[in-house]
């Protein structure tokens, strides 16, 4: 061992011995009763099967009741925003998949929309339809994982197996279009990486034939199941006012009865031309959030069916013809000197975006996913920031809902909010 390493190790040990950690350090976070030992402090996580990743919750317990809940996140922090500043605009798309690994297409979409807004890049209609279709398939994919794990946490094992079986079909479709099951990186500025293959539409149609019946099965398993109702109704309640104050979005907000869906309110990618409804809850409890997501599955099916019908009627380019942003097809390289220059510039330097800043939001399966993109006129992002729903929900909604509830219900609350820790920590 080198001297430096020895110093570092012993220094670390000394600092551990010097650490006189007491509960006094927590006095601003927990109630005064914890300082006198009246209530108990308990760590839930970072390794806990119900936290869907590496989330640590510091719980203050009075018997079985949760007095306060302090989330501790950052175990999955990988510095994605910092790393993106060191890559060109197009290379950085790869990083976005890794944030919310259940919603890779959505992450690609919000970042591409930000680039397109900043550079005023046009997106052909065919690409828009495929984007909507895949974004909704991603929503189904994400909701299926949510449904499976949420039920597994609450003790319903069989739903998990069914949900994973159907999710596999969605992942097969992703693999068909992008070559990757999860980290697809399929959306690019100005359109798509490549056109969808011929077998894509039959595969989606096949899935759409099977899937609605499967959703009926999930409904039959859960919606009127007395055990499920006993376990979920009336717990983790959040009022609409609190939900807005604490930054809740998506199904967590709609479960409280607030009609807010960015696809309807501030449409992007032509969502205003699709027919679908926004399911709303009334009580804001775990069961209502569950119902909202179950109904969203059916709305996604509706959107996909419309998108498939449109896609069949819409031939045309899958990516913008603006050669400053999209590379020319291989066949042009042998004929046109200009195409060779564009190809060379795009694959060495990348494109540049004008100086400025934009903020773009989409409705991800978990809520409002926003991207702040600032460019200084160069070929790399000056600053990228993602407003991720999981971060806001973990830090705000879960402590708020868990407060004054029971410890056993906390597992249901975490599941109902549907957090992904990769999305939270970035």
């Amino acid at each position: 061992m080198t001297n430096k390493a020895v110093q570092q190790t012993t220094g670390h040990l000394e600092s551990l011995q010097e650490w006189q950690g007491t509960v006094q350090e927590l006095k601003n976070l927990v109630s005064p009763r914890a300082l006198s030992g009246e209530t108990m402090l308990l760590n839930m996580g970072p390794q806990h099967p119900s936290t869907h990743g590496v989330l640590r919750l510091l719980l203050e317990l009075d018997g079985e009741n949760v007095v306060s809940c302090i989330p501790d996140v950052g175990y999955l922090h990988t510095g994605i925003e910092k790393n993106m500043e060191a890559k060109t605009f197009e290379q950085a798309i790869v990083m976005t998949d890794r944030m919310d690994y259940l919603n890779p297409m959505g992450n690609n979409l919000v970042y591409c929309l930000a680039m397109e807004k900043l550079g005023e890049i046009d997106v052909p209609e065919r690409a828009q339809i495929v984007r909507v279709l895949l974004a909704e398939l991603t929503r189904i994919n994400s909701h299926l994982v949510w449904l499976g794990t949420h039920c597994l946490d609450m003790g319903a094992m069989s739903v998990f197996l069914y949900a994973m079986r159907e999710r596999e079909m969605v992942l097969d479709i992703f693999e068909m279009v992008s070559g990757q099951r999860m980290m697809s990186t399929y959306f690019r500025p100005g359109g798509l990486w490549r056109d969808v293959p011929d077998e894509f539409i039959p595969a989606v149609k096949h899935f759409m034939e099977i899937f609605p019946k499967k959703v009926d099965d999930y409904d039959r398993l859960l919606i009127n199941n007395p055990l499920w109702i006993d376990r979920t109704q009336g717990i983790g309640v959040i009022t609409p006012e609190d939900a807005i104050q604490y930054g809740c979005t998506g199904a967590t907000l709609r479960g409280s009865g607030v009609n807010w869906d960015i696809r309807k309110a501030m449409p992007y990618m032509g969502y205003e031309t699709y027919e679908f409804d926004v399911p709303l809850g009334t009580h804001g409890d775990v069961y209502d959030r569950f119902l909202v997501r179950m109904l969203e599955l059916r709305q996604s099916i509706r959107i996909i069916n419309q998108a498939v019908a449109r896609l069949e009627k819409t031939p045309g380019p899958f990516r913008t013809q603006n050669r400053k942003y999209a590379p020319p097809p291989r066949s042009e390289l042998g004929r046109s000197m200009e195409a060779v220059i564009h190809h060379f510039k795009l694959w060495t330097e990348g494109f540049t975006l004008p100086k400025g800043e934009v903020y773009v939001s989409i409705e991800s399966p978990r809520g409002e996913l926003s991207c702040y993109l600032s460019s200084d006129g160069g070929n790399k992002p000056h600053r990228v920031h993602f407003r991720t729903p999981s971060y806001v929900h973990t830090m705000g909604a879960i402590p708020k809902m868990a407060k004054d509830g029971m410890l056993a219900d906390l597992v249901g609350i975490i599941g109902s909010v549907d957090i992904v820790l990769g999305d939270c920590d970035r």
Partner: protein, 173 residues
């Protein structure tokens, strides 16, 4: 329902000197305000009828190193009633990046400000508990700053194999 009002005109009329600049870019409105007025400005945009930006989406800290003022904070507000967004921006100097916390106006500012503190080292006064959130408690430096190195592992080739091997943190001897 009250008719929507123009946030820029109303802000100039009511907040007067606090508004430093207004930027329109790609259909987005940015209002640059004085840092010391931020809490009043937030309360104004939240409570004024016809604006009602009741939802704080995000606080983004940006580092414009080596320019001065170096830091900027972008408060992204959303009006769910009038379906529009607004960016309120403040610039902070690098010698003492310090600003009043807006947690008294928006509860959701709490963790966004903690992230800005963690990543950029901007201090928020009267924040209920300004701790690091994503990085470990004992971390030194603020990783999102432009003068913070990205860090990487040097690629090991045959010509520099031994040099790099020596630096690797193996247990030796």
């Amino acid at each position: 329902m009250q008719q929507p009002l123009d946030p820029v005109e109303l802000a100039k009329l009511t907040l007067k000197d606090a508004v430093l600049d207004v930027i329109e870019f790609r259909g987005e409105t940015t209002i640059v305000v004085k840092p010391e007025t931020i809490v009043d400005v937030m309360r104004f945009f939240r409570d004024t009828e016809g604006l009602e930006y009741i939802f704080l989406s995000d606080i983004t800290a940006v580092d414009y190193f080596p320019q001065e003022p170096r830091f900027a904070l972008n408060y992204h507000l959303l009006s769910m009633l009038y379906l529009r967004r607004l960016r309120v921006k403040v610039y902070l100097h690098s010698d003492d990046p310090r600003i009043e916390s807006v947690t008294s106006v928006f509860a959701s500012a709490d963790w966004e400000e903690r992230e800005a503190y963690d990543m950029m080292g901007i201090h928020f006064e009267n924040h209920p508990s300004l701790r690091r959130v994503l990085m470990p408690e004992d971390w030194e430096g603020h990783p999102q700053r432009k003068d913070y190195p990205l860090g990487y592992e040097q690629v090991q080739f045959s010509f520099n194999f031994d040099d790099i091997e020596r630096l690797k943190p193996y247990a030796k001897e």
